[in-house]
């Protein structure tokens, strides 16, 4: 296990050098410096992108790496958001770390349960089952007005971190603390996923995606690994949901509706489900599109997203824009595609 961990740190065939790691360090430095040079609204956007990045990277573990198309992930994302919001409202717990931990634990358990049920089916029936199960979660939350406020939603106040920051103004909270917190969480998630997906576990998931029968034939308990994949893929969106709730200070049941699952899927796929970091670009694309100042694009974001999805599925399949870019680069360099 430790050997493959070390191996994952070595230069990989694609870049052929350590330049990739230099690039990552550069991005991190820029990331840390950003709040000092840009406006607060851009910091908000970046934090949002980081949050959705965690969401889609988590989803990609299940879809891109294991090959399971879940149409019910809104349940985990919305679930994490609601766990944070409801915990703050009913128990008065203010600690950011504790709240996020609860969100992760809660969605992990939810993932275990839904996973155990959903994995009894395969292919399109698996997708439809995840859709049905997530809709049940949606209806329960939506209709439990007394508990969750139903369609009114819940407002979320700023949690404290190690006892501090909670009393800050929202904008100061964001710029001087929350952005950095999210950035660090994002970096931690990326690093852990990178190692995990390069490890034998990650390779097993890929093997399942490529040829399930063969993988089973060599003795891998396929169903169990699928279940593990679902659990990881539930916990990360749960974390993202919690982060989202705090960032937006307001959540509503729409986070649990099946169209949210579709959005998650779009971001992951369009960014590049077959790649590691692609989904983050998909998230960025989606968010920037929705926030774009230009009237036309802002009003017709659905048209653009829909068209982008349709065209990219037909032409790039699961590679998305990031995968497509990589493919283009390979072709230019004359490598075998």
């Amino acid at each position: 296990m430790s050997q493959s961990w070390l191996r994952s740190l070595q230069p990989d065939e694609w870049t052929g050098s350590y330049s990739r790691y230099a690039g990552i360090v550069a991005v991190l430095i820029i990331g840390l410096a950003v709040p000092f040079v840009v406006s607060e609204s851009i910091v908000f956007l970046l934090t949002w992108i980081l949050t959705f990045g965690i969401l889609t990277l988590g989803y990609n573990v299940l879809y891109g790496y294991t090959g399971l198309l879940s149409f019910g992930h809104a349940a985990f994302f919305g679930g994490g958001a609601y766990i944070v919001a409801l915990t703050m409202e009913y128990t008065g717990i203010q600690s950011l770390l504790l709240l996020l931990l609860l969100a992760v634990v809660g969605t992990t358990v939810l993932g275990m349960i839904l996973g155990a049920v959903a994995l009894r089916s395969t292919d399109i029936y698996y997708s439809l089952l995840t859709l049905a199960l997530a809709q049940i979660v949606y209806v329960v939350v939506y209709k439990s007005y007394d508990l969750t406020g139903g369609s009114d939603g819940i407002t979320v106040t700023r949690p404290t971190f190690l006892g501090q920051y909670g009393q800050l103004e929202p904008s100061v909270y964001l710029v001087s603390f929350y952005y950095y917190f999210t950035l660090i969480v994002f970096a931690a998630v990326v690093a852990s996923l990178w190692v995990m997906l390069r490890s034998p576990f990650g390779l097993t998931l890929k093997a399942i995606r490529e040829n399930e029968t063969r993988t089973a034939a060599i003795g891998i308990p396929v169903k169990r690994y699928k279940w593990y994949s679902m659990i990881i893929s539930a916990a990360l969106p749960g974390l993202a949901g919690g982060l989202y709730a705090i960032l937006f200070t307001y959540i509503s049941p729409s986070l649990l509706y099946w169209t949210m699952s579709g959005d998650i899927l779009f971001m992951t796929l369009f960014g590049g489900a077959g790649t590691f970091i692609g989904p983050v670009f998909g998230s960025a694309f989606y968010i920037l599109l929705r926030q774009f100042a230009a009237e036309f694009i802002n009003q017709h974001w659905q048209l653009i997203v829909g068209l982008a999805l349709f065209v990219s599925v037909l032409t790039l399949r699961d590679r998305g824009i990031w995968g497509g870019l990589k493919l283009l680069l390979e072709r230019i360099r004359g490598d075998e595609p």
Binding site: V117, S121, L131, I136, F266, H300, G306, V313
Partner: protein, 299 residues
Amino acid sequence: MVAINQFVILLINGLFYATILYLVGVGITLIYGVLNLVNLAHAVFLAFGAYLSATLINAVAPSSPVVVFLLLLVGSVGIMVAIGAVLERTVFRFLYDIDEDYQILATFGLILIAADILNTVWGGTPVSIDQSLNPSIILGSIDILGNQYPLFNLFAIVLFGVTAAIPFLLLNYTRAGKISLAVSEDEEMAELLGINITRIRMLIFGLAVGLAALGGALLVVTSSASTELATRYIILAFVVVVIGGLGSIKGAIVAAVLVGIIRSFGLAYFPTYEAAIVYVVMAAVILISPKGLKEVLPG
């Protein structure tokens, strides 16, 4: 227990829901069965049918009730059938050869595009047929065991019976129908035998779109057309199709009745969580018998 007349009204209401669900669901199942396409977006045609019917009737504002009905049942449906055939050749044909997963994803993209079009053309406020022109008002109500019930709803249920029979008659007794069955069995072979696959595809797709549009037309008479109609019925229609079994028309009929009645009685007795019941049933069906009811139905 429940008063008999209340029970009967709930039952009829359930059948009315079932009519709409069937009209959308049978289209999905036909497209899956014959064209091998998972069309997640199919219910948008219901929404278009609804909007188109209301707009058409309001715009033409005919004085004769007969013309109102013609516009509703033939006018808007006819337009949608034509649009459907065109869309099949221009958009949907590219989806036949790709994996089912990708079909789901691509058609999800189409849902977004359609939602945008609906929003742009008709805006955010719901559209309904003018009171003076509404077919339901025209037909009035009828007394059922002491309750006043809209005659139009009963008319719709009769249409359910008619449209339920149509696919059977078409598929089993017409030449085009039998060819469609052949295509759904073995497309390559059918093509080798000289059958014009393209024409069959346009036919089936147009039929499916027309039926969904009819569902929208019937629906807009009793309520109104809104953009969330599409997203709501997309998922309900899939519940019906899954329960009935992908590709089974009989299954779609039975499942539509089942879901319609569950909704009707559910709304009356378990209003809070009624919406969840259908999803539970859908999940149960997938877990117990994924191929749906078609496994247990005769024929």
